[in-house]
Structures are given as C-alpha cells and as structure tokens.
Symmetry: D2
Subunit: 341 residues, 4 copies
C-alpha cells in the first residue's frame, strides 16, 4: 500500500484524489491546498483524509511515500524538489516544470536518491492513444508522413501560461509517445489578444527526420470544441477524434502511389487507393486509473514509469523552443543535440 | 452579347464553358485545347461551338471579344498577354500567373489598352463567402481576432505546382475579400513527400495589423475531405463548413470578456459568454454564373471587376512569399511596402 | 427544510440522493435498499445518512416528510401507497405505477390526505424540453403537424418491463408537456426477440385531434445511441437532438405553402420555403435540481407540481393502451373518454 | 445493340436517357413527352434523338426493341401494356403500376410473348445495397432481428400518390432484395395534412416470419434530409446512411447474449458485446448504368432481370395493403397466401 499526499485541489486535483482513493494499491493520507474552501470540499467528500493549507507539513509527514503535485505550473519545481529531498517519490501535473533546467534538476535529484519521477501525461494512458501507438509500432500505417492535431475550445484562459503550455502539452506528450524519434527543429506562430505575454492561439510545426512533419493548432477562443488528430502514413491513415463518444479512432485504408517511371521524369504518375475504413474497439478504462497503477508498479519495481522525468523534460524543452520561435514570428529553432537529454 | 473564346477544356474548363453558354449575355464562339480527345467532348455536347488545337487562331479571331484562360498555371501569362495584345478582355483561371511580376505586366498591359482583367477567384462569388463578407463588413463579428482555414483531401496531386498554389489560393482569395486590410508578414512551413519541389502539405500564418492572425492548412494527403474555416471576433464567431450541404455558415454568439481592474493587475478576470447560434440562409446561385455576370458588367461599364488583376496579383504575391518562407522552414517574410501594388 | 427518505439506490437512486443532498431546501435522513452492498456505497459517500434494508422503517420515521421511490416499477404502488398512508408526500420514479388503476388510487389517496404526488418525468425539467414547450406555446411553430421521436441504443434490457415502459415513457412525458391536447387513439407494433413478454423494439403512433400525429420509436438493440425528435409545424420545424453536447435544439424556418386556386383543382400547387436555422441557447441547470425545487415549492404552496399524479396517470394509461395495441399487431385503441382522468 | 424509346422526360427521364445514351449496348432512337418544352431540352442535348409528343408513334416504331416508361404512375399500365402488345420489352419506372392487378396483367402478357419486364428499383443496383445483400446472404449479420428505415425530407409533394407510393417504394424494393422471405402482415399509419387522400407522412410495420420486424418512416415535410437504415442481427448490426458521401455502410460488431440458465428463470441475464466497427469500401458505379446492363443482359439471355415483374408486383401489393391498413389507423392486413404471386 502506497501512502500519498496530494498538493493542490483545484481543477484537476479532484480527479487525482478520486483515483488514488479508489485504487486498491494506494491510500491518500492528506491533501493540501492554499484555499480553505477547497479543503472543505475534500472534507465533505472524504472525511478520512487529513487536510491542511500547509504543503510543507504534508511533504514532511514521515508516513507518506509519495507526493502528488497538482498546483499551478510555476510552483511545480519548488514543491517537487522539496518532496524529493524529503525522500518522496513524485507524481507531477503536466507540464513537469516551468523550464527545462528545472526539469533536469528534478531528474538528477531523483536519480541520486533512487526515487521515481512521473509526469501526468494523461492522454498517453487512454485506450485511444495506446491503440494509435500500437498501430504505428506494428507498422500498420507504414512510413509516417504527417501528424496534425487541432485542440481548440472556448476557455479556460490561464493566468500564468500561454495556450501552448496549457493545451499543446497534451499533443506533445502524445506525439512523443506514438511517433518514432525526436523532432529536429520547430517553427511556431501565435498571438495573444488580451495580453501580449500569454498567447491564446498558437500554431506549431515540428520537423522530424525523414520528412515527417507534425503540426499542432491550439486555441482558447474557438466557438466549438475540437479534439482531432490526423496521422498520415504510406499504408494507412488515422483520424483520432476525442470528442466522439464512440469510434474515437478511424483507420483508413487510403493512400497514393507515385510512379517515377522513365517516361514520367517530367510528370508524376499518381494513383489513389481507397479501401475500407475500420474503427477498432477502444479500451475504456479511465486513463488516471491506469496511470496510478503505473506509478505504483514503477515504484515497486524500482524502474522508470512510461511517462518519466525525461518524457516531461522533452515536452518542456519543446515548449521552450516553441515560445522562442513564436516570439520571432516563426523563425526555426533547431534542437542542436536533439531533444534527448 | 459578349463573344468569348475558351482556352483549356480540362478539369475546370467544362464548368466555364457551360456557364458562358448558359448566360444570356455571352456566347461561346470557340474552344481550344491541345488534346484532341477533349475537343471531341466539346463537339458532342455543343455542336455549335468551333473547336481547335490552335489557341493562337482563337485569340486572333476578330469576332471574339474576350478570352477565357483555363490552362495549367505555367501558360497563363503567355496566353493572357497575347490575348490582351490582340485587344481582348481576359478572364484567367486562378492563380492569375506564375509570379507577381507576370501579374503586374498583365495589369499594366490591360490598363494601357483599357481592357478588363478578371481572375477566377470562384469562392468570392459563392453565397456563403458573400454572407461572411457582409457579416464582417456590418461589424456583426466585432473586432477580428483570427481566421483559420483547413482545406484538405486525398489528391488531386498537381504536377507543376505545390499544394499552396492549388488549394491555398482559394483561402487567400477569400480572406482578401472578407478581412479588412492586407497582411504585413507571413510564415509558412510544409513538406513534399514525393518530390522535394512540390509540397503536398503546407501551413501558412499570415500576420495582419491589430493582432489579427490568419492560418491556412492545406493537404493533398488526407483521408477525408475537410473545408472548414473559423473566424473569431470580439462579438461573434463564425464557422464556415463548405462540405455541409445545408447550414454552411454558423454564427455563434460566443466570446470572452477580459477585465483589467486594479485588483486584477496580476490576474486576468475572464468571463465567458455563450448565446444562440444562427445559420443564415445562403444564396445558392452557382458562383460561376454570378462571375460571368460580373465579367460582362465590368466590360460594359468599363470598370474593374470585383476580382480584378490586383486581386490576382496580391494572391500571387502572398504565394511567392509563402514559398520563400517555406524553403526557410518558417522564417518570417515581411511585406515591406504592404501587399498592395 | 424538507426531510426526505429515499427507497432504492440502484441505477437512478444515486442521482436523486445527490440532488436532494445538494439542495439547500431538503435533507436526506435515510436511504433504504434491499441490497446491502448498495448501502455500503451510500455510507462511503454520505456518512451522515442513515441506511437500512427496511423500507417500512424508513416510511414510518416520523421525522421524515417525504418519501422518494426509486425501485423497480412493480413495487412503486405498494411503497407509494404505504408512504401516503403514513402521511408522507411522495416523489415516484417513472412510470408512476404498473397500471392506471394503481395510479388512480395513489391520486385519490393523496387528494384525500392533501399530500403531494410528484412523478419523476425528468425530461420535462431539462432546458431543452422547456425551450420546446415555450416555442410551441408562443405559437412560433404555428399549427403542429407531427411529433416524431427516436430513442434507441444498446441495452439496458429490463427484466420486468418492455422497452415501452422503459424508454417510451420519456417521450410520452415530453409530448404530454409540449403538445396541446391529449391523444384520441393509439396504434403500436413491436417485437420481443428474447422473451415474447418483454418487447425490445416498439413503434407507437398516437393520433391527436386536428391531424396531429405523434410517433415514437424505441429500441434496446441498436448499435448506436440516438435521441432525436422532430416536430413539424406550419410555421417552423424543430430538431431536438439530446445526444449533441451543444445546439441540442435547432429551429428551422422551413415549410410548404399549398394553394388551392381554381386552376389547381386537380393539382396541388406546393411552394417550399427555406429560411434561416436558429439554435437557441439552452439553460443547462441539471434537470433533477429543478425538479427537487419544484417538489419543495409544491409542498410549501400546497399546490400540484408540474408533473403531478395526473401526468403520471396519463403516461401509464397510454402505455397500457400501447401494450394492448401491440398485442394485436397495431389495431387501433381509442381513448373513449379521452386520456384525462 | 438494343434500340430503345423513352416515354417521359420529367424528373427522372433525363437520368434514364443519359444512361441509355452512354451505354455501349443501347441506342436511344426516340423520346416522347406530352410537354413540348421538355422535348426542346432533349433536342438541345441530343440532336441525334428523334422527339415527339406522340407516345403511340414511338411504341409503334418497328426499329425500336424496348420501351422505357418514365411517366406518372397512373399511366404506367396503359403505356407498358401497349408496348408489350407491340412486341417490345419494357423497363418501367417504380412503382410498376397503380395496383397489383395491373402488375399481374403486365407479367402475364410479357410471359405470353416471351418479353422482358423490368422495374426500375434503382437502389437495388447501388454498391451500398448490394454490399448489404452480400453481408446478409453470407450470414455476417447472423439471424436478422429488425430492419428500420427513415426516408424523410422537405418535398417534393406528388399530386397523384401519397408519400408511400413515392418514397416507401424505395425501402420496399431494398428490403425485398436483402431480407430473407416475404412479409406475412402489415400495419401502417399516416396522415395527410393538405389533402386527406395523399398522406405526406406514413409509418409502416412489416411482420416477417421468425420475429423479424421491418419498419419504414417516410415524410415529405421534414426540415432535414435523412436516408438512414438500421439492420440488427444476432451477430452484427449495420447502419446504412445514404446521405453520407463516404462510409455509407457501417458494420458494428455489437450485440447481446441472453442466458436462460436455471437460476435465471425469473431474470434475464443479458451481456453486451461491443467490438470493432467496419466501413467496407463501396462500389461507386452509377446504379442506372448497372441497371441498363442488367436489362440488356436479361433480354439477350432470355432470362428474368433481377428486378423483374414479380419484384414490381410484390412492392405494389405491399403498398396496396399499407394503404388499406393506413385507412384503418393501423389495423393489421395479413398476406393470406404470402406476397408471392
């Protein structure tokens, strides 16, 4: 039984607490939040959980094995580092930290102390994304040509981060999991309509080796909610529509064949192929439940979890580069040594 | 009665011929095409029309008042210039020319000879786009925040031009018509999976004054056909879905209000507004029929048509800049003197 | 403060308990259920609520003012009657009883004792149905021509009642609320594929005065979930799609005009009208919260609630007639004295 | 080469003429229509075709082998019978005749003269319906439970027939082709809002052996166009949506299993199965082109076509029974000797 303490009971915290409470392998000993009214909600729902406005006390509690950090991004590093220094495993809300240097320090501190760092890249644990991973890994899609995601809706505007750090982080965590290799360069554009510091619309192009292009469109100011990803490969193409309640993933047996016969030196011979469409059954277990299990398993086995510190670092590294490119209206930023640590 | 000659009876030519035949104000005297089998099709459908593989002879025909050019882009300039020099008005398939210098020469030649140059920016004449123009012009959307268009499908790969010059030209002609002002800079990314010269996926960001951002996503390699534009304004937002057979335009009474009260110096106070949605009835007259009328009217009145040479020039100028930016993986290209001639 | 006791904590009970707990006007003193494991769930969530397997004890509790019955249909009558005889107001899950005679007895008993009978016709309290009611009542739709509802999905098969008594009851409660007048006759067809007694597919036609026709299609064996109602009127038509997360109601300014001019004695002159579509904003308060308020208000004011015993009686009466017609493969059943009590 | 004459150039005639013109196996010698303006259209499009207002002369033309009847239903019988008596094969627009007796006489006359009677049940020749036929015939759906079709839109109101004879005839021809066996009884309801004789909304329930139920909903007064058929089987379920431009057919690997174990005598044990969804590629050849080929092949081989006189007779027989049931507000009409001739 893993004893955990949760810091932050805002938007996402309640889902974390519920899942750590319902898991047969974990027990939530305490919840800390600066806002007293949020703690009242915890108390009403879970009389057995101790609440406090003092995060430090929770971290210091010797009965607690792991700390869950679900606070605003700017406080992730301090809380997570403190927890590591107190000998606790950490599970941190996405993005892992405010910059890549912080992420690096967390990784190093945890390695030194043989503690587990896990970042909450939730989508990686959904049935839909796991199915896409499987399709790509099996070669069902053939050589990958592009990855295109649209993640837009009205709100919720964040105060301290741009739409990139709020929404694009989901896409970056997904494509890191399903695409082979790391991006070599990035170009991003965006605009903030209400404050110049926090863009509410952004477009990212990620350049991968072998002509693979990924593009992400995030927007807090759209009249409808769209969560749609297209993945094009030489053998098949996929549409992943997370707004659909069923058939979230559709696999199209469609494509083109290009002939470069001698006669067609000056002319492409393109032939189109259109076959069946197939929507595989998707596992519907709640992602957070799978994630809690992964955290516990990683701690027990002394191994890295699927979404470990490095995964969190890479996403933050790309967000930094995107922010940099965006300030220069799209100028490409190269990942000289790759995005790998 | 305006006597016209049509050069090119490939993919789009049949629609042009049909509309110029059915108009009460025009008469098609001749059709020229290099491919004899295409002329057979014309003869079967329209025994009254003279056909020929000789475009020059058609241009030289003294009975003809105007020449319609519906050939591949690379031949637009030579044919159109020849027609102008023979004293004919010209109606040219989009894009107007292969580069902005050619477009400029056509405009100058026509001005010198007091002839009409019209470019076939078809979408500008659809009921849907005219309705959007009206909504923007009336101030129904308030201050414009963004314009986002997705235009993707499987095929048809072009041999001589990239997806930009094939599909994005539609979006550029639409946004030129509906948005106030011209873009000041552009950043574009894209990739060609089959030949490095002709990109089959491209993403464009256009920077306008006053924080207005336009983005265009075009792709020849998508498993489904999408034709969807979102326009966000301070008062209302619009979705224009051209794949829908009815309710192509939806107007959402949605938005955000941002307060910057003294207390919220460090914190945005965002409030969301969600009201009715409204799908105005759209005029369904075929765009080409409206266009033929505009061409005839402009010639009779000795005035410029709605989609004149300058409109064609601007689109070509942006395509050039986009191509340049795309080669530099997104580096911004500024329109020093604006996009105006 | 109204003190309530809830009997039945199965599929719907948890929603009732949650809403009666969260209301500022009611307090849940006890929950009874025959299954001990269900009571454990109550205890975990609401340590303050007393639980028991003994419904009679709950009914007898003198501190309790009202009893909520959320058990299988076959037990509604006994529990509700017992509660009335103990002087409690009753709030009964739909359908009110197993037959119209039982419903009548409940109404009479409550009238005698000046107690409130309310039936849980949930949809009547949704923003969408209230908006439709308003559109009809205002005359926005003109004269009503038809009401057509499809309510299908896979499962949940009920053991003791047919799909009619499970799903069609929703439509009957809605149409009773929004349509003017009562049906004069009914024809129904259906089939049970697994047991002949409980049909899993059924079709109902309800004949109203003035050529208004209502039709309901319910099915437990459909591959997709559909919740779609069309209402046609002489001035406008409505589509109510409850599966949509937004724009649940669309109002179409469409219709036909029929001229019977002398020349057209032998021929109808039909002209079609197609105008705008409009999706009004829908109130999103949870229906059950509105319903709890209505129950409390009715008790305090000593008045009948919107969905009173008569409303429950009418729905049961129509279900009885539908069951009778279905056994005779569609033979019409007339409501000699109307459906009114 | 089969020489044909076409009578009727109204709504559907142009499609028939175009397909018989474009077929390599047929030649259209003449077209007859009572309205001179319609013949002008023919002449403009097909200068090689002789036109006339005299259908009798066309029928009498000795060069003509087959007569295509595309006139209003009330004239089908006279024209078709005349053509048969003149020794011509006949291809008749749906429905074959105004009543089953007429249909019978046509069948007998053709049999006597060894001529082919074909009825234009167009949908039977579409790729989508042929795919459904294949799925059913292969047993892919298992035992069939139900067939449910909705075919609604705004207009076109017919003058001489109800919506049943206009729209339901499509569904009846499809279900005759794809379902095993014939219906044994029918119940129908409907209403005419503008004239009592011609219903503009109708609902049909067809009872088949083995608890298979078919239901058809047709409506000329709906705000949107719906063409959707659900077919439920013990192994799989199908949705056929003809309004979709792609993925018209979706096959769901979904269903229920019912256990009747001793313990569950008083209780059904239902388990649900939800697997993949699959949208097979559909052949896109125009149905009428396939149909013309079938007509020619049947004549050459001296065999019956797929949609022969009997197929036409059955549909008319069911329409008669439906009309009869509808007048009695749903009273069941049994097909004593089956629907077979």
């Amino acid at each position: 039984m893993l004893n955990v303490g949760v810091i932050g009971y805002g938007y996402w915290g309640p889902n974390l607490v519920r899942n750590f409470v319902e898991s047969a392998h974990t027990k939530v000993l305490g919840v800390a939040d600066k806002t007293a009214s949020r703690l009242k909600v915890v108390e009403a729902r879970y009389p057995q959980i101790q609440t406090s406005t003092d995060a430090q006390a929770l971290i210091a509690n010797p009965q607690i094995d792991a700390i869950i950090v679900a606070t605003p991004v700017s406080s992730h590093f301090d809380l997570a580092m403190e927890a590591l220094k107190a000998g606790k495993h950490i599970f941190v809300e996405k993005p892992l930290a405010s910059n890549s240097e912080q992420a690096e320090q967390l990784i190093e501190e945890a390695a030194r102390r043989k503690l587990v760092v896990m970042v909450d890249h939730t989508f990686v644990y959904t049935g839909a994304v796991r199915k896409i991973h499987e399709l790509v890994a099996n070669g069902d899609l053939g050589q990958l040509y592009y990855y295109d995601s649209v993640r837009i809706n009205l709100g919720l505007f964040q105060h301290d981060v741009s739409v990139l750090w709020d929404l694009a982080v989901h896409d970056l965590s997904i494509l890191q999991y399903v695409l082979p290799g790391d991006p070599v360069a990035i170009s991003a554009t965006g605009v903030g309509h209400f404050t110049s510091k926090t863009e509410n619309i952004a477009y990212l192009t990620l350049f991968f080796p072998d002509n693979l292009l990924a593009h992400i469109h995030v927007n807090w100011l759209a009249p409808v909610k769209v969560r749609r990803t297209l993945i094009g490969g030489s053998r098949r193409m996929v549409i992943y529509d997370d707004v659909e309640s069923s058939e979230k993933i559709k696999v199209y047996d469609k494509g083109v064949q290009i002939s470069n016969t001698p006669e067609s030196v000056h002319q492409l011979l393109v032939s189109y192929r259109a076959g069946d469409m197939w929507a595989p059954r998707i596992e519907t277990t709640e992602a957070l439940a799978v994630e809690v299990k992964e955290f516990v398993d990683a701690i027990e086995a002394g191994r890295r979890p699927l979404t470990d510190g490095e995964a969190g670092w890479k996403v933050v590294r790309i967000l930094e580069a995107a922010t940099q490119s965006m300030a220069l209206r799209g100028q490409v930023v190269e990942f000289a040594k790759g995005v790998a640590v």
